[in-house]
């Protein structure tokens, strides 16, 4: 099986943000003083080598700022490696920062057409699919309204609908599983399943380790731009979780409910359902700390926990009746 994506000794060195001085005055003064300041640079990806075969479902995991999304952008061609090579064979659908890049003054239908062409599709093809895209995004009624009237969730839905209208050879997913509400998320997941079943090569960047375990067959764990693990997904996730420092555990469901009330959507995220010999363990990762949710009944009720607790970034958590089994 030939590789769909080949990263060979890829190193990416980028200018650091604190060195970015946008003002002309400082630059001129430095030149007058005979100093030529070179911006500081940081190695973001260090000697990454990976070969991803056609049809492989690969997850890239790691802490925030580890370089996961950068790997995706290198594959997408958004970033060029400083050293090394990135070879990609096939059409690419990048689902990165959905909903960003639309022209707010233009209508939805115009943005669909422009965006589709920017993604590399023929204009006639995009026009033929435009209504179906709006229909999937459930935005047909707003087709002639300016895109600035959309909420961020609606924009993300539109971005998802455009990027996934055509089956790509390679699908790049960057934390796109939180598009819209729970119902629309399931709709998106069902569409993505099509690509899974159709043997597209899929590269996922996600903090949702349970999703990674359930859907991917290989994982690359990136830590400060360096690959720490490349191999079987369960082992990779286990190794990664071992590096996440422990915080206080949560032994009662009501503690988690309290957290959910205090922290609005997206503030708390349960990331890990790690399969072990004892069964599935539930972790809550918050503020960079791993919190082991230790109430024994949670293992028994892990399905319930998955539906209602692990998605505590969703408002659904508040719907768990107090006094329920979990507490």
């Amino acid at each position: 099986m030939s590789a769909a994506i080949e990263l060979h000794d890829v190193t990416l060195v980028r200018r650091t943000q604190e060195e970015l001085h946008y003002d002309f005055k400082r630059t001129v003064l430095d030149l007058v003083r005979g100093r030529r300041r070179r911006p500081r640079r940081r190695t973001v990806i260090d000697n990454l080598t990976a070969s991803i075969g056609q049809g492989v479902k690969l997850a890239v995991i790691g802490a925030n700022g580890s370089g996961k999304s950068t790997v995706l952008k290198l594959i997408a061609g958004v970033l060029r490696p400083t050293r090394g090579s990135v070879e990609v064979r096939g059409t690419v659908a990048p689902l990165i920062e959905l909903g960003v890049g639309f022209e707010p003054e233009l209508t939805l239908i115009d943005n669909v057409i422009f965006y589709g062409i920017l993604l590399g599709h023929e204009e006639a093809t995009v026009r033929a699919h435009a209504e179906a895209i709006l229909e999937f995004a459930e935005l047909t009624e707003m087709r002639d309204e300016p895109t600035k009237t959309l909420s961020s969730g609606m924009s993300a839905r539109l971005g998802f609908a455009i990027a996934t209208e055509w089956r790509p050879d390679i699908l790049l997913l960057d934390e796109v599983l939180s598009v819209g509400d729970e119902r629309f998320r399931r709709k998106c997941a069902a569409r993505l399943d099509r690509f899974w079943d159709a043997h597209s090569t899929i590269v996922v960047v996600s903090h949702d380790l349970d999703y990674v375990v359930r859907t991917c067959e290989r994982v690359i764990w990136v830590d400060h731009g360096v690959v720490r693990f490349d191999g079987a997904v369960a082992e990779g996730v286990e190794q990664y979780l071992k590096t996440v420092p422990f915080g206080p555990g949560y032994t009662r469901g009501e503690e988690l409910l309290e957290l959910a009330r205090e922290n609005q959507r997206g503030e708390i995220l349960v990331r890990g359902l790690s399969p072990t010999e004892q069964g599935r363990k539930v972790y809550l990762i918050r503020d960079g700390m791993r919190h082991w949710v230790t109430h024994p009944s949670w293992y028994v009720k892990s399905g319930y926990a998955w539906e209602n607790v692990l998605h505590v970034d969703d408002a659904a958590i508040l719907e768990i009746p107090e006094g329920d089994y979990l507490t």
Partner: protein, 269 residues
């Protein structure tokens, strides 16, 4: 070896994709610019026409003696100059923020950054192609009756477009690094406007300032446009050749600057 071939088809297909990107980006810019306006692209025609009328009303009588005593020749001369300088300034002003403004898009889709300043040039070129540029062609036919001059009209206009493209590339690249640039360019544009013989005859410029004055590429571009559209007598090739040379130098410098700096763009966008 540094390569990055993201479904990068080669040759004809790649060129077609590049042209498609420029076309669609230019169309998008035009649609945004004229969305909700009553006259749309006609504004690009109205602008130099209204300015010409104002200049003629204010300065025409005073300066017409430099134009064979003809108010009409002053009016036509001002119009030709305004078409050139308006195109140059509109194009460079649009192109300057084009790469920075496209930052969010370039962070998610692989699009060559050069598409955006070139699309700015293309959008402005389209506007002039359907409004003022054909008028210059007609003026040349009617006023010069010289087939050589008529044939040179597209050459001079092409040189003006290339000159603008060179500045557009350079400014778009520099703005990624220097956010003061729009303010500086605003001042530079005003200086270029004043130091170009738009509403006054070049004879009024003091001899000691002529050397500096002649270095203004827009001034020579205006002179070239007038030479091929309204001048009489033997063709003076100097402004035409100067404009072509300036255009090629500007394009080479702009493209070099863009190429030399583009690898750092994504770190700053």
């Amino acid at each position: 070896m540094v390569t990055s071939s993201v479904y990068a088809p080669h040759g004809e297909v790649r060129s077609r994709r590049f042209v498609d990107l420029i076309r669609v980006t230019a169309i998008r810019a035009l649609m945004v610019r004229y969305r909700g306006t009553a006259f749309g692209v006609l504004w690009s025609f109205a602008n130099p026409v209204l300015m010409t009328l104002i200049y003629t009303a204010i300065f025409g009588t005073a300066f017409k003696r430099y134009y064979d005593g003809s108010l009409t020749r002053y009016l036509v001369s001002a119009f030709v100059g305004l078409v050139v300088v308006s195109f140059f300034l509109a194009t460079t002003n649009d192109a300057l923020p084009s790469v920075v403004n496209a930052g969010s898009l370039m962070n998610k889709i692989a699009i060559p950054p050069i598409v955006f300043p070139i699309a700015s040039v293309a959008a402005n070129l389209f506007q002039q192609l359907v409004t003022t540029f054909p008028i210059l062609f007609v003026l040349s036919i009617v006023l010069t009756r010289d087939p050589v001059r008529v044939a040179l009209v597209p050459v001079v206009l092409a040189a003006v477009v290339v000159l603008s493209a060179g500045f557009a590339l350079g400014l778009a690249a520099l703005f990624v690094f220097f956010r003061d640039l729009p303010n500086l360019w605003q001042v530079a544009g005003f200086i270029l406007w004043l130091s170009s013989p738009l509403f006054y005859p070049v004879q009024l410029v003091p001899p000691q300032a002529r050397t500096w004055y002649s270095l203004n590429p827009i001034g020579e571009a205006i002179a070239a446009a007038r030479e091929v559209t309204i001048a009489r007598g033997p063709l003076d090739p100097y402004p035409v050749l100067f404009t072509i040379a300036a255009a090629l130098v500007a394009l080479a410098l702009g493209a070099w600057l863009f190429r030399a700096t583009r690898d750092d763009f994504m770190d700053l966008l």
